[in-house]
């Protein structure tokens, strides 16, 4: 391994370790709230209301919404981890520690993204374990399940990084989660099948990228989906690649960080 590659490998490990240390140190703010929120969803929507709804897609309503709720936690947590970590580094100017060092922009992007991905996946594991108190979860296709959840976490971690680069104050890092991610997630088939919608709204829903992610993950767990899995995974791979390149380009330009 060349000196350059070894140095970047150590730097990557350092950034990831620091990110993991950050969100585990403040676990009551990062890992506990999604657990509580999802238990409430399981109790209210799954047990109380779900028992009156009956089956959806051939499964009990509780079984049907569990994959969507896991994805909802992954999306929220991978995004918010990176956006808050990177923006506070900008705000405190500790980002300068990285900028003055010889770390490549690729390593910085990968390091922050991996921090967000690991938090998203850690929350996914917690929520999955909690869901087992409410349902007997079976995995239909492990490979697709792991691939889809990893790609989703990657996409939203990178999205969080872009948001943080452009953000100028703390309001700017809450606008996208509040006004974009939350509506798209709720309308992304977490709680219902789009087959229940009139044709126009079904067509419109297909333009929601989160619908494809949720359904691809649901296919991995339950084996049912409203969309074509191949298309969804291709879209996610392309989105992850494009977002990664945008992040690297932003860091190279120093936008919002260098004068």
């Amino acid at each position: 391994m060349s000196v350059e590659i070894r140095a970047n490998w150590v730097a990557l490990q350092t950034i990831v370790r620091r990110e993991v240390r950050r969100y585990t140190r403040i676990w009551p703010q990062t890992l506990l709230p999604p657990a509580i929120t999802m238990v409430l969803y399981f109790v209210i929507f799954g047990s109380l209301i779900g028992s009156r709804i009956g089956e959806m897609g051939g499964f009990s309503y509780m079984d049907y919404i569990v994959p969507g709720l896991i994805m909802m936690s992954v999306i929220t947590n991978s995004y918010s981890n990176v956006v808050s970590s990177f923006f506070s580094a900008k705000f405190q100017r500790s980002i300068e520690e990285l900028l003055v060092s010889p770390v490549s922009p690729h390593v910085i992007v990968a390091g922050f993204a991996l921090g967000g991905i690991t938090r998203g996946l850690a929350v996914a594991v917690i929520v999955t374990l909690l869901s087992m108190f409410f349902t007997d979860l079976q995995v239909h296709h492990l490979g697709i399940t792991v691939l889809v959840i990893s790609l989703t976490a990657t996409i939203f971690a990178l999205g969080g990084l872009i948001n943080a680069v452009f953000a100028r104050n703390f309001d700017d890092i809450s606008i996208v989660p509040t006004f974009v991610l939350t509506p798209l997630t709720y309308l992304g088939g977490v709680f219902y099948s789009i087959n229940l919608l009139p044709p126009f709204w079904q067509g419109l829903s297909l333009a929601n990228p989160i619908l494809h992610m949720v359904n691809a993950f649901r296919y991995g767990i339950l084996g049912v989906s409203d969309i074509r899995i191949g298309v969804a995974i291709s879209f996610m791979l392309a989105a992850a690649a494009v977002l990664y390149l945008v992040c690297v380009r932003l860091l190279q330009s120093g936008r919002g960080m260098r004068q």
Binding site: A7, I15, R93, E96, E97, L99, Q259
Partner: protein, 310 residues
Amino acid sequence: MSTALSIRQLTKTYGNGFQALKGIDLDVAEGDFFALLGPNGAGKSTTIGILSTLVNKTSGTVNVFGHDLDRDPAGLKRCLGVVPQEFNFNQFEKAFDILVTQAGYYGIPAKVAKERAERYLNQLGLWDKRDVSSRMLSGGMKRRLMIARALIHQPRLLILDEPTAGVDIELRRSMWSFLTELNREGITIILTTHYLEEAEQLCRNIGIIDHGQIVKNTSMRELLKQLHVETFLLDLKESQLVAPQLDGYPARLVDDHTLEVQVEKSQGVNELFRLLASQGIEVLSLRNKTNRLEELFVSLVENNLQKVAP
């Protein structure tokens, strides 16, 4: 001796049109202890910002130990340690973790990083505070932590942007001896400071920057030679109502016990004391009114101001 830093025709124009640097040339030799002085807004921090890559230059070249900023920024950064003016570390991290993390960014394995962190925290008197969150440290401790952080990758060129600002005199002097020791070990140091006594005490060479231009770049000794007149304050034993007539020495009373006298370098002070003694005036003590470098600095900057004024 090789060149540690070479800057050629460096310019920086900010987005609002303000031209912070107007084509500066600067060379700092390896092993030097160099003072970069200038009034507020002169371009010191912009120059340091460009060196540390936190400010994008408009034009010109920067070379650190043979590494060109445009062609080999990673190589340049490995040679460079920067202590910025403002605190820029994570306020929630522990002092020890800040150093080990910074070392990791330079590709230094954790084991080596921990050994170095221990060494520098000990040298800078912070070992007892290693597990303290950095926001809980005093201002002086934070400054020392930034010095330790800048040294963790063992740079060949250390740039300190007002490292002793707001630091008490005792700590300042201990930092001076630490920096002198570092320089003796071979680290080239560039220092910006508003304490001109500090620059005079520590630095061998000096560059004065004003309005984005280098107005003086010479050795400290040469610069101080240019000082023709020094102003002394004499503490008098007896109260005086009017300033005494001292032939060749312009004098005025600051208060009834303090006399201010201007002495040309060629005159010396023996004759002054003889004149005072002949008038029965007894002097208790003698001191410079201002630091010698300060007098020169003010005159150079004032001259430059007259040149650039519309």
